[in-house]
Amino acid sequence: MLDATISTGNATPAAGGGSTTKTPPLVQVRDLKMYFPFYKGLLRRHAGDIKAVDGISFEIPAGETLGLVGESGCGKTTAGRALLRLYEPTSGKVMINGHDVMALEPEALRRIRPTMQMVFQDPQASLNPRMTVAAIIGEPLLEHTRMNSVERRERIYELLDQVGLNRNFANRYPHEFSGGQRQRIGIARALALNPKFIVCDEPIAALDVSIQAQVVNLLEMLQRRLGLTYLFISHDLSMVRHIANRVAVMYLGRIVELSDRDSLYADPKHPYSQALLSAVPEPDPQSESRRQRIVLTGDVPSPANPPKGCAFSTRCSHVMAHCRVAAPALTEIAPGRQVACHLFTNNHTTAEPTAAH
């Protein structure tokens, strides 16, 4: 009975994993690095760097959604912020809508800000409690356009309509709204300047289950209607399967697997992707009791002191001697599928017998 209602298959617009390369990429990221230095001792000597994002590359074709998944501390949020230059990245190249974002001077950067926006995780913290909804949504208009107050009010109403909020709410304050409604306000603010690209940083993580679907459906409807391109950062693998066309899996600052959605979920290649997918509990007692789980031992290593070689080697059940020496590069193993793992490169030796712990 439940299955009958979710059987419409791959009919999502702009979907269809294979066709992803036809449209030119709106977003191109090359070897993006974001290091945070830390200092020690009386003289505050530079003692090392936390490599939050350590050389990631991906592309997002216009109108598509790339899901960026991983656990806390893997650098997914930092990556999202760095590529919009909300942080000053250590190195790398980012092209968004034809602009070389990393090379722009502050004033030029400010002028292209309207094309790239962000929706934040916690709508409570990202909305100023002392501003009305109209002021919050209207602020980017005030900053970046020459609209007069009448035009601004019209645009605010239009945005409220778009995100499904009542126009009468315009003069209320954020605390008068529920979590889902606050997230709609955050989305309206991001849409105010007609962006092309939106980084959605865990936009549904703070919401209740019954509200998550409302917000995700809204994001999808807006994408269709306005031709938006999303980077959807999330730890919710089921929701990413629903919304994304392609998915990048991050572990300790690097992308370990980048693939079209259907191939990744049907047949994850990287041992970490496999473990991550097998750890998600499914709301189905039958399959839960039959399921072969890969339970990883230990915790994610500290990014201040990452293991030598492959960062996942300390927890991987397939670890080989070679893995502890050299970090694997992200390589294409099939059309549209990239994996960073020595199991898929040719130069590996036999598995280390004592390795599985």
Binding site: T12, N217, P283
Partner: protein, 337 residues
């Protein structure tokens, strides 16, 4: 409100529990006539969204809510032959942490940052079991080993910040298990953890259950966790139990419109992908008067006129399966009771 047979075998028997909070503007009715039984050794999953009353129910029956603003009433909460609702605060204090253990959602805020982990595990042992320093220390070490913390003896002298999130939650479990409780209440114990760490904790709980045999109440909003770990589940909405069933039955044959909608709204990891997610329109209610109607009616797709006149009582619909709804899911018509 609900009539359930009083079984001798339940370790915890809750009857008609009601909690309201007095606020400046209005009374908020958080728990409205909750009744349930917890059988020995079973794991009862409590599912609901924020504000559904799942945590407040558990905190009320153990006297953990400050009064005012909370006002807890009910027919009875029987545990071990004692009615918890009629206990003095001192008697409740003797029971909490000893015969009933707790695990809370956020291990960082529920552990005291200025005391060592060893001290915090030994506290209930000294307090409730009267163990001396050395005996308590030995038991604390055993407990850390039980929950799978390597190098237990040395870790006793570490402070909470020296543990990772998953390890901290293991420490919380060790503290909850310290005095061999008959009942363990776990309030969203894995919600703050990453999925791979959650999988470790779920594995640990499965193992400990068979080893120690206590009854567990597991509060969560994650239907996947319930499916994987619980024997029976109880769905709360608007401070009331709307459906209760063995887990396999609940997922195979959900009968309350809310349970059905909730199961449909969650996207799956496998199987066909929906083009559009099913949505439960509207918001969960804030109930400001004693409920005289179904709390879900405003968001319900099969609501009838009767639903706004009367609050449906829980009725049996199958073996151990109860639902509080006037609509009959099997026939798709109104149930005449």
């Amino acid at each position: 409100m609900d009539e359930l047979p009083a079984t001798q075998t339940s370790v915890l028997q809750v009857r008609n529990l009601t909690t309201r909070f007095r606020t400046r503007t209005a009374d908020v009715y958080a728990v409205n006539g909750v009744s349930f039984d917890l059988k020995p050794g079973e794991l009862l999953g409590v599912v609901g969204e924020s504000g559904s009353g799942k945590s407040v129910t558990m905190m009320s029956l153990l006297g953990l809510l400050p009064s005012p603003p909370a006002m807890v009433q009910g027919d009875s909460v029987m545990f071990d032959g004692i009615d918890l609702l009629r206990c003095t605060p001192e008697q409740l204090r003797q029971i909490r942490g000893a015969r009933i253990g707790f695990i809370f959602q956020d291990p960082m805020t529920s552990l005291n940052p200025v005391f060592t982990v060893g001290f915090q595990i030994m506290e209930p042992l000294r307090e409730h079991m009267g163990l001396s320093g050395t005996a308590a220390r030995k038991r604390a070490q055993e407990l850390l080993e039980l929950v799978g913390i390597p190098d237990a003896e040395r870790r006793l002298t570490d402070f909470p910040h020296q543990f990772s999130g998953g390890m901290r939650q293991r420490v919380m479990i060790a503290i909850a298990l310290a005095c061999d409780p008959k009942v363990l209440i776990a309030d969203e114990p894995t919600t703050a953890l990453d999925v791979t760490i959650q999988a470790q904790i779920l594995e640990l709980v499965r193992e400990l259950r068979t080893k120690l045999g206590m009854a567990i109440v597991w509060i969560t909003h994650d239907l996947g966790v319930i499916a994987g770990i619980a024997d029976r589940a109880m769905v709360l909405y608007g401070g009331q139990v709307v459906e209760m069933a063995p887990v396999a039955e609940l997922f195979a044959r959900p009968l309350h419109p809310y349970t059905r909608a909730l199961l449909k709204t969650v996207p799956r990891l496998k199987g066909p992908r929906a083009a559009k997610l099913e949505v439960i329109e509207g918001q969960p209610p804030i109930i400001k008067a004693p409920p005289a109607a179904c709390a879900f009616r405003a968001r319900c797709s099969v609501a009838m006129e009767r639903c706004s006149r009367e609050n449906p009582l829980r009725r049996p619909v199958g073996p151990e399966h109860e639902v509080a709804c006037f609509w009959d899911a099997s026939t798709g018509t109104a149930h005449h009771a």
